[in-house]
Symmetry: C2
Amino acid sequence: AVDGRRLWDAIHETAAFGGTPKGGVRRLTLSDEDRQVRNWFRAACEALGCAVTVDDMGNMFARRPGRRDDLAPIAFGSHLDTQPTGGKFDGVLGVLAGLEVLRTLHDAGYETNAPLELVNWTNEEGSRFAPAMLASGVFAGAIAKETALNQTDREGATFGAELDRIGYRGDEPCGERAFSAFFELHIEQGPILQDEDKMVGVVEAVQGIRWYEITLIGQDAHSGATPMRLRRDALVGASRVVAAVDRIGRARPDCVGTVGLMEVKPNSRNVSPGEVFLTVDFRSPDDAKVAAMEADLIEAVAEITSDLGLDGAPVRIWDQPATIFDAACVAAVEAAAEAFGQGSRRMVSGAGHDAAYIARVAPTAMIFVPCKDGISHNEAESSTLEQCAAGAQVLLDAALRYDRK
Amino acid sequence: AVDGRRLWDAIHETAAFGGTPKGGVRRLTLSDEDRQVRNWFRAACEALGCAVTVDDMGNMFARRPGRRDDLAPIAFGSHLDTQPTGGKFDGVLGVLAGLEVLRTLHDAGYETNAPLELVNWTNEEGSRFAPAMLASGVFAGAIAKETALNQTDREGATFGAELDRIGYRGDEPCGERAFSAFFELHIEQGPILQDEDKMVGVVEAVQGIRWYEITLIGQDAHSGATPMRLRRDALVGASRVVAAVDRIGRARPDCVGTVGLMEVKPNSRNVSPGEVFLTVDFRSPDDAKVAAMEADLIEAVAEITSDLGLDGAPVRIWDQPATIFDAACVAAVEAAAEAFGQGSRRMVSGAGHDAAYIARVAPTAMIFVPCKDGISHNEAESSTLEQCAAGAQVLLDAALRYDRK
Ligand SMILES: NC(=O)NCCC(=O)O
Ligand SMILES: NC(=O)NCCC(=O)O
């Protein structure tokens, strides 16, 4: 059995790398804080005798040998990067529970058939570099490596240069290694498990996601000297886009629509703004609904720009269709959850996860545990020691069940 | 007569301090570029034998003695700071035309009765530090000096510390000196003179202005995992405020309403935003209409926050009632404009100006010259050599008429 207290301590120890006054974590991908937590992670894995390999997207793989080195490893893990004002659990739990699995097996001297690999995927959050799950996307062949390395943050720094800067561009070409399975433990980031008083979510699918960027161009104009009828105010336009996205997200069941990022230029109190950059995130478990939301968005933006004399249209920068996980992996998670015995249910993930990309190249499934009130991407994100330990236990059991299969 | 070419060259020489690739100027108040242009300005004035004094708000006064040193000086000037993406003429024309006046009198060996003073007011734009006309406001006793010195920019630097940093906190207490009159030449920043093919605007009033800050607080939430009905999205709320301000600005004649600045937190593509800071600018020549717009805003924000479960309300941070300029000063400008003979008309300024504060402590009036299509607070802002020279000539003539009175 895993040691819940040791896992809990590891979560709190790493939360210091980028810890915020409000108890959250700010550890943007490829930042100095990301380097610190990566160094900690490498040392912790090496202390167990695991060899740590880094690929050329910065993904980290800690390998524990098995009885049969001819088998592809059973892999598990998640990510150590966070949102700008993120919590202590999103991603971190999946990596550190994986570490706890390795520590437990190490202490027990347990030998698996297949090797095990614990993975830390780079840039899962997609907050600093778009899109999310960038490095697992390259690993799965869904995103071109050159495109990924040239992605820039909002200050213009490239992913590749930042990888070099923190010393985490490895030699191994990303995507070269194979897994016989991949399991990812994560906090639910939604309220269902808490509402139904269940400890474990057996995740069988991840909803589809599309992301867009829109740059609206009007004309900078003096806020005092420019009559309303002569304005081409890009912020008035952007505000109508935000309203449209909110309306579109509510128009059909099982859909969400969000504008998360907006930048106004010149952003001065007495200038009617001539330029606004904003992003749109649409999701649904039903890919047809995501496509319908896109059509609505294109129509709404066309109407807004023509009405206000603005230029600009949505550019789709990411399309990840809904993912259905592997039946055998889901069955292993379900069996482990049932054995754990504190209630479980099958569910669809609202958030995107590295597992959704890895599912394209390996049998994959996910495990959810509850988080308080479903709040995530928020410094107040919170799960209990018992919930974290439950997740780690089910992860260990699912991996061993799959290994014995 | 003034030397239009020399004035034109001075405008283009100083435009290099903060010059942008698009031909505009980025010279935020108390920045390094502001220091550079101030050093240039001081040297240019001293080369004419003028003594340059700096007060403790960074305002600069270049004094040319007159026949009678017992008279308070006739002052003129404007400001050398710009918007983040401003033009070459806003403010700069008024200061450099004043310099051209001094140069012309110097070359002609002309002696005035009263001393003359050319002024560069600090932080007219109000873009880096709110509100606009901060230092002329302190000079006129309308804004407390301590408040002004403690104003912070969006990065948290204080006005006082930045004054010290660029070496322009002088010894003289701001507001100690008296003027017998103040004249300010400025580009119109609106389209009327161009439309009516007139060279000079005789400005008899400045419209009233109120500024507000609003911080809307909701809750950061995951864009994929949070159902629409569980959100408290501060950006959806802010967008409705932008729409309300636009509607309020259009609801009555002779009114304008603008949201120029908006900051979203955490500003991440996959987070439904929990906090937005935005500003509102209302103006009208009729103070009662400004008050009516304020009432509309308070009502609209209350409705939006209650509808969306957000916290936040407008905080008024600036109130400058409409200004009526001094009849004798306006008459001097009108006589000078008529003598110039290329068409003039009386008008009300849509923009705020230092002259509106100085009017509280000295007889004051303003002179406008056309700018292309009325475009201002924009890198494309443009006036011709002839228009700039006409403004300088009328400024010279108005000051001399007032001096002979
Ligand atoms: N799990 C998680 O929060 N992932 C971030 C990517 C996304 O879903 O937007
Ligand atoms: N003249 C001018 O652009 N002043 C800036 C202050 C304002 O009117 O907002």
